[in-house]
């Protein structure tokens, strides 16, 4: 009887291993329609840099904030600040860092305009 239990438990363990192998390796959950907030840090930085480049040219802070809203619901200045940390960590070119820094500084006191909706 105990032998049967041992074999039963072994069968469960084998099945468990097969299930995990199938779920993690053979057919893992596929993410094809991801959202921007899951982007890798360097891609997020590049998106913030694009926003900073556009802001540098257009000087439209509201539009810049709305663009950054694509990366999450945190305050745009926080998103820009995180990107600046990433830029420093990755050793991005000085010109790029300055652009992001300028955007982050400009967004520090930015608040959504009434009626404009949250970013």
């Amino acid at each position: 009887m105990s032998s049967r239990w041992v074999r039963f438990l072994l069968a469960i363990l084998c099945g468990l291993a097969l299930g995990v192998l199938y779920g993690w390796v053979i057919s893992p959950v596929e993410y094809v329609d991801t959202t921007p907030d899951t982007l890798r840090a360097d891609y997020r930085l590049d998106y913030v840099l694009m926003t900073a480049e556009i802001y540098h040219s257009e000087q439209d802070l509201d539009l810049a904030a709305r663009r950054l809203a694509l990366l999450g619901s945190a305050h745009p200045s926080q998103i820009a600040a995180e990107a600046l940390v990433t830029a420093t960590h990755l050793g991005s070119p000085e010109a790029d860092r300055l652009l992001v820094q300028s955007l982050a500084a400009a967004l520090l006191n930015w608040e959504p305009s009434p009626g404009g909706g949250a970013p």
Partner: protein, 294 residues
């Protein structure tokens, strides 16, 4: 008694196999429960190529606006490559056309068309100017549907998508100048209309070319085409490889269309897919219309 024993043996063996099989199935079920639900593979460091289509559109629009601001084509190309479009030029053109058709709610159509045109130019060729009216960036981007941001940990060997050398942005890039658009005083006229029987072209292809008085192509001219069940708008210049004044539309056979170039005042009616004869038999041809300022 012996008879009963002999009948039990097969069922005992079957039971032995069944509990092993049951254990295996229970294990597989638990494994899948763990790997698919309790602890699925987490994607926290995704790349732009995996973004949902509407987010890709916003990302692409940002790339185009950034190019408009900086003029850094190499960096824009590198960024576009991240989206994994099979044909970035086509993707930009289609999105610009779609944005224009929808009234350009986000003010990105001009930038998209401008970048598309830049990509379609051979290297070292100065960009011709575009005619679409520049939309001041007052439109709002759609608010994200994502939840709170996930701060991803920087990877050890990051791959910067941009390969261009550092660019200094001391002064904003000048806006492209605009070419003269057809004015009310000089309405476009239908200069020619011809049937095109070329089996190499798509069946039902309606080609439109808009030229100014000097015979130069006019980009950004809006074209409205109507048929009994609908209407569509498209623009010249979105396929720069075919000419700045070129635009096309795929007609459906046996449907009558009417077409008008915005502001031209000339309504061309009775357009339909012509029947052509070729070596391999009959096939659907196309039409080519040329509008020109007098």
């Amino acid at each position: 008694m012996n008879e009963r024993r002999s009948r039990r043996r097969p069922s005992l063996n079957l039971g032995g196999n069944l509990y092993m099989l049951t254990g295996l199935l229970v294990g597989i079920g638990l494994g899948l429960l763990y790997s698919w639900i309790l602890s699925p593979v987490e994607y926290v460091d995704t790349a732009p190529i995996s973004l949902r289509a509407d987010f890709k559109d916003q990302y692409r629009a940002a790339i185009a606006s950034s190019y408009l601001a900086t003029g850094d084509l190499a960096r824009s190309q590198a960024r576009l490559a991240l989206l994994g479009d099979p044909d970035p030029l086509q993707a930009l053109s289609a999105q610009a056309q779609s944005a224009w058709g929808a009234g350009d709610p986000y003010g990105s159509a001009y930038a998209l068309a401008y970048l598309a045109q830049a990509l379609g130019q051979p290297p070292e060729t100065p960009l011709p100017s575009l005619t679409p009216v520049f939309h001041s960036p007052t439109a709002t981007m759609p608010s994200p549907t994502a939840g709170p941001p996930t701060v991803t940990s920087p990877v050890k060997t990051p791959v910067r998508p941009a390969t261009a050398a550092p660019t200094l942005f001391q002064s904003p890039t000048p806006r492209p100048s605009r070419t003269p658009t057809p004015t009310a005083g000089a309405p476009l006229q239908l200069a020619s209309q011809e049937t095109v029987c070329d089996p190499a072209l798509a069946e039902g292809l309606l080609q439109v070319e808009v030229l100014d008085a000097a015979g130069q192509p006019v980009a950004g001219a809006g074209i409205v085409i109507n048929w009994p069940d609908g209407e569509s708008r498209f623009f010249t210049g979105l396929k720069p490889e075919l000419g700045d004044g070129y635009a096309d539309f795929l007609m459906t056979p046996n449907v009558a269309y009417s077409l008008q170039v915005t502001g031209a005042g000339v309504l061309v009616t009775g357009l339909s897919v012509p029947d052509c004869q070729g070596e391999g038999g009959d096939f659907w041809g196309g039409l080519r219309l040329v509008f020109r300022q007098p």
